[in-house]
């Protein structure tokens, strides 16, 4: 090769071409998206996330959840994500605009989590009084930050007390809060849950949990256990699952995250957020396992992952509750939405 100038110019030129083409132009195209809203300017989606959500995302990143779990639903022409009940439509760039760190993921040794919050039993995420029975007992736990962003109610405001709570003081603070009655699983058997969210998606967007009814049954990666377990994908269920994955599914190869939980003596009566563990995992008499604040944030983060709200330019799967897996795939019209 003759001369230095062509060499240097070429080295810079090729790379500048790639840099502009693959980062600068996309940034110009989709780097400044706004939430969508309907004609009246209400029903805004997506909404900013709570402080617990942000911190939960940090916990998620710190412990490398992203190396096994994706957070994206592929379109129905590529992969079986929608048929698996991981979402009722493909993910779109707009779904992620308020996430400080987007964790799309590249591996599915675990299932996709893009809509894990939407799979929670209905009462978990709804801001109705039923939410008081939420297991976490924390200010943020009951209203599942981000999952209940009713614009008029000021969803972020509701979650804000959680963010003020000092991380270190969490367990005592939890104990101080009046214990909500009883266990979260209480009356709701999984069967009831499977039936309850059958309301058609799209009817009442903000109360997100109701939306993804079809998924609850279809997406179950393993048989739902019944006796004594918290309802699947409820906050209490997540805690038990994080603490002891193989107590819920023996074949799971998820590591347990016991270091996010604390073992302590029971004072007077069991804490409301103590994990309901059975068998070998159960702490000895007089002891209980409670989530640390990090664990609560992590669960709050997952409970808020919810892309079930319709997006204008993305086709959602129709609202009818899905028939059991494999029987009928939801209308595989090939038209790519985007």
């Amino acid at each position: 090769m003759k001369g230095l100038a062509p060499l240097f110019l070429g080295i810079f030129g090729t790379f500048a071409f790639s840099w502009v083409g693959l980062t600068v132009i996309p940034n110009w195209q989709i780097g400044h998206l706004n939430p969508q809203s309907d004609e009246e300017g209400t029903d805004i989606y997506p909404q900013p996330q709570s402080g617990m959500f942000e911190r939960g995302a940090r916990v998620y990143v710190a412990n490398g959840c992203v190396y096994c779990h994706s957070e994206q639903v592929r379109p129905d022409y590529a992969g079986a994500d929608i048929e698996r009940g991981w979402g009722n439509r493909r993910s779109a760039p707009r779904d992620y605009i308020f996430e400080r760190q987007v964790l799309l993921g590249k591996m599915r040794m675990g299932q996709d989590l893009a809509n894990i919050g939407a799979r929670a039993p209905a009462e978990q995420a709804s801001p109705s009084p039923a939410g008081a029975a939420a297991p976490a007992g924390s200010p943020g736990g009951g209203t599942s930050p981000g999952a209940s962003p009713a614009p008029q109610a000021g969803g972020p405001a509701a979650a804000s007390p959680a963010t003020k709570q000092s991380p270190s003081s969490s367990p005592p603070a939890q104990a101080a809060s009046p214990a909500p009655a009883g266990s979260p699983s209480g009356a709701t058997s999984p069967a009831a849950i499977a039936a309850s969210p059958a309301t058609s998606p799209g009817s009442s967007p903000p109360t997100a949990a109701a939306l993804v009814g079809p998924q609850t049954g279809v997406g179950a990666p393993w048989p739902i256990q019944t006796v004594g377990e918290p309802p699947m994908y409820s906050a209490a269920w997540h805690h038990v699952h994080l603490y002891s994955p193989r107590s819920i599914n023996v074949d799971s190869n998820m590591p347990s995250y016991r270091f996010l939980y604390e073992k302590r003596r029971v004072h007077e009566q069991r804490s409301a957020d103590a994990l309901k563990l059975t068998g070998a995992d159960a702490p000895p008499e007089g002891w209980e396992i409670v989530p640390t604040y990090d664990a609560k944030c992590l669960v709050a983060y997952m409970m808020a992952l919810n892309q079930s709200h319709p997006l204008k330019d993305i086709r959602s799967v129709s609202g009818a509750p899905a028939v059991p897996a494999g029987a009928a795939s939801p209308a595989p019209s090939p038209a790519p939405a985007k």
């Binding site: 080295i11 693959l22 996309p26 760190q101 591996m107």
Partner: protein
């Protein structure tokens, strides 16, 4: 059987007795000047390689034995895995690659190494950066972007260290003698100039002024892919362009082909990366552009492959003797395999199966190990004797190293690819529970752990051998260590 029988002169290039004397003296002089910095980079790299290997074994076993030491926060799988990746990428691969690149720069600029302190400081800072970064990851400070997990405090140190090394490279280039700029130097200059831009762009667009939403992921994969191609790939290709002709003592087949190969490589491989996001929430054109670029990278693969092949034509039997040649040619061939596998798993029809599976791990290992690391091993077998003034002690250890590495990486790739495909086909079948797809891949992951044991053995063997060389326990001989005995008169300077 031996070199004479095949009529091939097994000699190192340009070491003819007549013209050689001054030239050889000059070379020896240059080699001696590179001794401290290059050995510093190599020694650090070896230490990181051993650490990274141990971490890798841990990661691999934990994947099918999830309860192994999982109650300690800094040993949880999700922290050890990025620690392993970053130790390998920044500790082993980058440091070994820089060591080789520094030596090649000095040789090809035909000048003694100037400003060694820049490099010594660079190596120290780089080690510090990697050390802090790995500790940060284990303590929960990971940033969560593939290959950019090092927290900011480590990233800044790495960048400063890198600036020292790159400015050294540019300075050296200015002191070069001779008009001709050899092919290797194109690749090395490219690598030295691309990396800081890439790293700075990645850091700025993800951490200083983060882009919105899904673009973070796009920037992250753009970074990771370009790091693989424009940093590691460029160093490895440049090294192969030097080592292969050098060992067989024959000029590169075609400069013209090399030019085409270099520029198409720079142009097309830098545009890949988005194919990893296939079917994700992105404008379709981004992904399509990268798939097209991936297909077009077959042009540099073909030209570079053809060039190496034609250079080697008739000289392949030499791989029986020269460790350098054996490793380098293995690496150069793996470049083709790596690119073809990369192309296959990028096609939309295939990607819908393997997108979220272990197949993408196979791809990274093909690029970073079968291609890059094997070429660098080869170059180390060539360079280290020239730095310490001793020859490798045991041919048997070199052979063991080669075969354990070759079989290890081969088995690993096979396990991950086949496992990835079966995992993917279970995942794409919605009548199977999701956990079936995990069950499907677990046997292959156990096989991968087995492959990891082979690689671990190979790295320990190499580290031991390297340690002997460092301690001056190599053979004192004028004849290089050949893998198999060669008749005495055919031997040249190694």
């Amino acid at each position: 059987m031996n070199a004479i029988a095949t009529g091939i002169p097994l000699k190192e290039p340009a070491v003819s007795a007549v013209a050689g004397d001054t030239e050889q003296l000059e070379r020896a002089y240059i080699d001696a000047s590179t001794r401290v910095p290059v050995l510093m980079f190599y020694t650090s790299a070896m230490a990181w390689l051993i650490l990274g290997t141990l971490l890798a074994g841990f990661v691999s076993f934990k994947l099918h034995e999830p309860d192994l030491l999982s109650n300690i926060s800094f040993l949880t799988w999700g922290r050890v895995r990025p620690a392993h990746m970053n130790v390998m990428v920044y500790g082993w691969a980058s440091m070994a690659g820089m060591g080789t690149a520094i030596w090649l720069m000095a040789r090809l600029c035909r000048t003694v190494l100037r400003y060694p302190l820049l490099l010594v400081a660079g190596a120290c800072l780089w080690n510090l950066g990697v050390f802090l970064g790995v500790c940060g990851i284990l303590l929960g400070d990971s940033t969560g972007y593939q290959w950019l997990e090092f927290p900011r405090y480590a990233a800044i140190i790495l960048f400063v260290a890198y600036t020292l090394v790159a400015s050294w490279a540019v300075l050296m280039f200015r002191y070069r003698r001779g008009e001709q700029i050899y092919i290797t130097q194109w690749y090395l200059l490219g690598a030295f100039l691309w990396f800081p831009w890439l790293y700075a762009a990645g850091q700025l667009m993800l951490f200083a002024v983060p882009v919105q939403g899904v673009l973070q992921t796009a920037v992250g994969w753009w970074y990771a892919n370009n790091l693989l191609f424009l940093w590691f790939g460029a160093i490895a290709l440049g090294t192969a362009y030097y080592m292969i002709p050098k060992v067989i003592g024959r000029p590169v087949y075609s400069y013209h082909l090399a030019t085409i190969g270099f520029w198409t490589y720079a142009l097309f491989s830098s545009w890949t990366g988005m194919q990893r996001l296939i079917d994700g929430p992105f404008p379709a054109w981004m992904i399509t552009a990268s798939i097209a670029a991936t297909i077009l990278t077959m042009i540099p693969v073909a030209t570079v492959g053809l060039n190496h092949h034609m250079t080697m034509q008739g000289y392949f039997p030499l791989m029986r003797y020269s460790p350098t040649l054996r490793f380098t040619v293995f690496g150069a061939m793996s470049y083709t395999v790596f690119s073809v596998v990369g192309l296959l798993i990028s096609l939309r029809s295939v990607a819908s199966y393997v997108n979220f599976t272990q197949a993408s791990i196979a791809y990274s290992h093909l690029g970073l190990y079968a291609f890059f690391t094997m070429v660098i091993f080869g170059s180390m077998y060539y360079i280290v004797p020239r730095l310490v003034g001793r020859e490798w002690r045991y041919a048997s250890l070199i052979k063991l190293h080669f075969w354990a590495s070759a079989y290890g990486i081969g088995l690993m790739t096979l396990m991950l690819l086949v496992g990835g495909f079966s995992q993917g086909s279970s995942m794409e079948n919605p009548t199977l529970a999701f956990s079936e797809s995990v069950e499907t891949v677990l046997p292959y992951l156990r096989g991968r752990s087995l492959a990891g044991l082979l690689l671990t053995a190979s790295h320990f063997i190499f580290a031991y051998h390297f340690g002997l060389m460092l301690l001056g326990l190599g053979r004192t001989s004028t004849v290089p260590t050949f893998l198999n005995p060669v008749e005495a008169e055919t031997s040249g300077g190694h």
